[in-house]
Symmetry: C2
Subunit: 471 residues, 2 copies
């Protein structure tokens, strides 16, 4: 047995006050008033949507072009100053916290849709384009971009965190849908990770290497993604179940039959109670599945009827489906507000979200064991899940000023993560690692972390890019 | 502009005769007669199915376990001897040629199917399991593994080359279907690249990094892949077209409408002529599409009828479809024998296959311009394509002893590759780089190659693994 050969990651840069000042002077010459050191701007860029303690950068650089990003990277590199890319700040594991100070590169102004190619069903956008902006723009083309992580995130940010959401069971995640990226490297060079062919066996999969790298290997400035035809028709359905196992087993049967369900979301009884209160609805307060089907009128009616039978076989006898757009919107509106509905259960609370994903055969066990834990805790929580993928979230409702609440949420989450990993699942299905899940990642992947470290050391020898994240 | 920061790849190891002899002695102690230096065995392991000049390794090690692969890697590493992994030897770009000598690690004996999990629709196999062996094993489970590159390749080899084939338009390639890999690293450690969750945002995508790395970053010893339900029904169809553009535009319309066609294969008039002669059939000698649809009886009948209308709109009026298994087999048998049928057009010839893949909007132009080239050449060729993905192959029929034939094939292929790259496509949709397409890869990806080099240098500092491939 030889000793590990791999390089270690450099310590995060720690520029002197003079070096930092010189860096900011250079950036100011470059960007003028698009370099900001205003406290309010800095604070806003050090805080994401998570419970993690914010960490403001020393300055925020508002870039407008790939060339400007190159100049910023070269300047920061010269002065040894960390660089944190920023899209919309909607991350959930402290991804954009400036743990070691440095310059935040805000690409939200890089919001041009560069090229829509209907025949190829793809689009190239600047990294700051948000998914809602893109879909608004696409509306008349008959095409849409399906990935929906809830927040109106930027495509650069979604690529960086390998985002997904409710549609992933049918359309995949950013992993499957990014065709190519333009990336500024640590040495200031700009690469395209791939060309636009749907298939490629052209060497290492650099696109997938940067997707999910959370800004630690380079700065994504352009994203090419796949698009899909807007479905001819959409059917939504809702079905209450006697228990969690019945709901999850209905999902397993649905997936196994190859029914191309577009969404299948699980809400536990606490979450249904919250939804009822928040949206003044009267759903049964019991584990419930929300479905969506996309396709031709005949195809989706057939799909809905099949799932109705599967649900009934598991005791879900009140399966209601509708193709009516207003009713459908009402139904999904309830699901989409689940987060806010949950927070309203405990006024003044913040949500801490778990993000485990397990092989679907273990989903019922994982959910049931977790609910057992939750029931024995003083902390209020709800549960929602993209269960077609085996991914579910416990939303712990914490008083942000209560160390007890936060400690309890962490304790419960830790037990959940260990359970999921034990079941051959992952600590994160879609939120990413940031700095909140680094220990879990090591537990999950063991020595494979050294491969990540070697790649990081190779591509970012100074550890300039988003230091302290993932690795 | 700073200078490139990235490390370069070490030169291929060049062990002394003594070092090599010592290495083989150590391996013989380890493996006994499962280390072979017989010329016939060595020759067989240095030759793939391509036209490239074979290069035999110094020895072949037949490994049976991951632990043995670890021991082989550690031994070769200690003596500075190259290591070339080998599955079935069906690669097409000289992937397994021992360009710098060394030890071929044949994993074909690692052919255990380790765990089938029907509820999760996945399976873990040793790297030497072939796709036909796997599907034979799965037959009674109602599940199948769809990726079909033609050859009965090993799953380790398919992962290594990011293989795909006729089913990729519906089921994706190895990129989309590998969930996790067990890999022996250059320092002898064994990692699993991911757990089995369908979705994950857990750090860098190591699975996708090793998929397509052609044995240059580590040796894959176990593969976990997705499975799919055997479709309730299958319909096959064939339709002749007046010209290439009509055929390709029918495919574009089919994809854009979101029709989940399982296969859509293009054969040009030369290939149809070859098929007729070889299989004693009487298809029209004109550009032709072969289709396959998977699903429920009603769904696929509807799909076939829709595609029939699309084809008719482009002048493909003789669309014939069948759900009859015998007729279907006959039809696809003709397509599957296309390679041998083409070779039979010129007895004694070998085939040199191109592998470009372009965005589908450019497919008709690419095919038409290429056919124009081919028509002006003295060399006989045929064309087949997985056109739903924009991927097609020209099969150049060369006399292997004729330098003129080979030079002409290379000249035509080079023009085709440049054309495809100009159209934002790739030099290889599914065959990979090996040592045959390294120059094209550099042309295609430019500075992105330095990222590949940095990754290679980081994970294989001695350049032990399959030196001379990709990079």
């Amino acid at each position: 047995m030889t000793a590990p050969l791999f390089a270690s990651v450099a310590p995060a840069p720690s520029p002197s006050a003079d070096a930092l000042a010189a860096c900011l002077d250079d950036l100011r010459s470059l960007l003028g008033d698009r370099l900001s050191t205003a406290q309010v701007i800095r604070d806003q860029h050090g805080r994401d949507e998570s419970y993690h303690t914010p960490a403001a950068p020393d300055a925020v650089a508002f870039a407008l072009t790939t060339d400007e990003v190159v100049a910023i990277v070269n300047t920061c590199s010269r002065h040894g100053v960390p660089i944190i890319p920023f899209g919309t700040g909607t991350s959930l594991e402290g991804h954009i916290a400036a743990l070691h100070g440095g310059v935040c590169v805000d690409v939200s102004g890089m919001n041009a849709i560069l090229s829509v190619r209907p025949a190829d069903m793809d689009v190239t956008v600047q990294a700051g384009v948000t998914r809602k902006q893109l879909n608004e723009y696409l509306r008349d083309t008959g095409l849409f971009f399906p990935i929906d992580p809830g927040a109106d995130a930027s495509l650069g940010g979604m690529a960086s965190t390998r985002a997904s959401g409710t549609n992933a069971v049918r359309y995949g995640t950013m992993r499957e849908n990014v065709l190519s990226l333009t990336v500024v490297l640590a040495d200031g060079r700009v690469i395209r990770t791939a060309r636009r062919a749907r298939k490629s066996a052209a060497g290492y999969d650099l696109t997938r290497l940067f997707v999910g790298s959370e800004g630690t290997l380079g700065i994504i400035t352009e994203v090419t993604v796949r698009l899909y035809g807007i479905p001819e028709a959409v059917v939504a359905a809702v079905c209450p179940f006697p228990d969690v196992g019945a709901a999850v087993n209905t999902v397993i049967d649905t997936i196994q039959l190859g029914i191309p369900v577009a969404r299948v979301e699980f809400l536990d009884e606490n979450q249904m109670d919250a939804v009822n209160r928040f949206s003044k609805l009267s759903y049964a307060v019991t584990p419930t599945l929300f479905f969506e089907f996309h396709g031709s009128d005949e195809a989706i009616a057939a799909q809905a009827e099949t799932v109705k039978e599967l649900a009934a076989a598991h005791g879900g006898v009140d399966f209601q489906w509708t193709a009516n757009a207003d009713e459908r919107d009402k139904l999904w509106h309830a699901r989409h507000n689940a987060f806010y509905a949950a927070l309203a259960l405990k006024p003044g609370s913040k949500g801490i979200s778990s993000d485990t994903c397990v092989p679907i055969s273990r989903l019922a066990d994982c959910v049931i064991e977790t609910k057992h834990d939750l029931q024995q805790s003083f902390l209020k929580s709800t549960m929602v899940g993209h269960v077609g993928d085996g991914n579910f979230h416990v939303l712990f409702l914490v008083d942000p000023d209560s160390p007890q609440d936060i400690a309890e949420a962490k304790r419960l989450n830790s037990r959940l993560v260990m359970r999921a990993i034990e079941m051959d699942g992952t600590c994160t299905g879609e939120h990413g690692i940031g700095h909140g899940k680094r220990d879990y990642l090591t537990h999950e992947l063991g020595d494979a972390m050294d491969v990540m470290r070697a790649v990081k050391a190779a591509l970012d020898p100074q550890n300039l890019f988003n230091p302290g994240k993932i690795i």
